[in-house]
């Protein structure tokens, strides 16, 4: 494994992009010169990309096809602060919260490879805490929308009835990913702290990080297409 990686890295100095693809994909040998767990996480994330894309495309389709005006997200998700209504306030805070958690995760990966167990675990727990905060804000958002605004998956008082179905499905599935990520990060951070990866190496932190960054990545698209469009 280490041998093939060294060969691959050495060959990369002279070969062109196409040659490197031919080299990696031809013959009976390992194609991806990364730990198998990392390759599998990338393939899982690729499949997840397709799921979220189907949801967002479905949302686009119902929004394009409805003859009834779409509710204005800027107003629907606005909050009133000291008597002044600020558009999309909560969503903005949630966006910055997730970006912050992505940063702490990236640092955790770095300290993991430096074998600094204390800092790695601390940064991962911080990331998980930001994730939990995100889910909490989402729970608040859902509660407000359901109880105060009367939004249902089949109807709402503001406009096109497909709004509720799209909203609950897309943000619900994303929130599920964040929740699963918080649990995943806590488990890995706990095992890092216990020293489980001293022999195997700290690729697992990078793999968990890939999942977490993907959750942030999906939010970038949801924020753009659902909340801002």
């Amino acid at each position: 494994m280490a041998q093939s990686q060294a060969t691959a890295t050495h060959a990369a100095d002279t070969e062109t992009a196409w040659q490197s693809i031919a080299t990696d994909w031809s013959a009976d040998k390992q194609t991806f010169h990364v730990p198998w767990g990392k390759a599998m996480m990338w393939i899982f994330l690729l499949s997840d990309t397709f799921i979220f894309s189907c949801f967002l495309t479905g949302y686009m389709n119902v929004r394009v096809s409805t003859a009834v005006p779409w509710p204005n997200p800027s107003e629907v998700f606005g909050l009133e602060v000291f008597g002044v209504s600020v558009p999309l306030l909560l969503i903005g805070i949630m966006t910055f919260d997730l970006i912050t958690s992505s940063g702490t995760m990236a640092l955790a990966v770095n300290f993991g490879y430096r074998r600094d167990r204390g800092r790695t675990a601390a940064l991962m727990f911080m990331t998980a805490a930001f994730g939990a905060l995100f889910v909490a804000m989402q729970a608040f958002e859902w509660t407000k929308l359901i109880t105060a605004e009367g939004v249902r998956p089949w109807a709402n008082p503001m406009g096109a009835s497909q709004f509720g179905a799209s909203f609950f499905m897309i943000t619900g599935f994303h929130g599920l990913h964040v929740s699963a990520g918080v649990i995943y990060l806590c488990i890995v951070a706990f095992k890092v702290l216990r020293g489980d990866y001293e022999k195997r190496g700290y690729e697992i932190v990078e793999i968990a990080g890939l999942y977490w960054h993907f959750v942030d990545l999906v939010w970038v698209f949801i924020f753009a297409f659902f909340y801002l469009w």
Partner: protein, 119 residues
């Protein structure tokens, strides 16, 4: 595998990208104060692509992977453009059908249309 083979990059780079992500998130949020139209939609897409690019390239380390992995992961989602195009066409057609068949106020003159319906 020794720790030397893992993805190791200077912390300074991460802090830079972190800052840029904050900046672009701020810009994204600011587009909400613009009127709806191609300018606003263009900016939304621009900041979205910039943020997605930084996250994938730097935070997810795609910039330092070999081409075999990059193309295997980033290539397949391109076919989604076909699905999106099909759904735009289908959605437009559905809206056209709904406006024509299910909503009376869209017909230019309500009175004339009502008379025509009697024939």
């Amino acid at each position: 595998m020794s720790s030397a083979t893992g993805q190791q990059h200077p912390l300074k780079l991460y802090f830079w990208v972190w800052g840029l992500l904050f900046l672009f998130s701020g810009f994204s949020y600011a587009t909400d104060f613009l009127p709806h139209g191609y300018f606003r939609w263009g900016l939304i897409l621009l900041f979205m692509v910039a943020k997605a690019g930084f996250i994938i390239a730097i935070f997810m380390h795609m910039a330092w992977e070999r081409k075999a992995l990059i193309w295997a992961i980033l290539g397949p989602p391109v076919v989604l453009l076909v699905l999106i195009a099909l759904m735009v066409i289908e959605g437009d057609y559905t809206e056209f059908t709904r406006l024509n068949s299910f909503s009376a106020p869209i017909v230019p003159s309500g009175h004339a249309a009502a008379e025509e319906a009697h024939h």
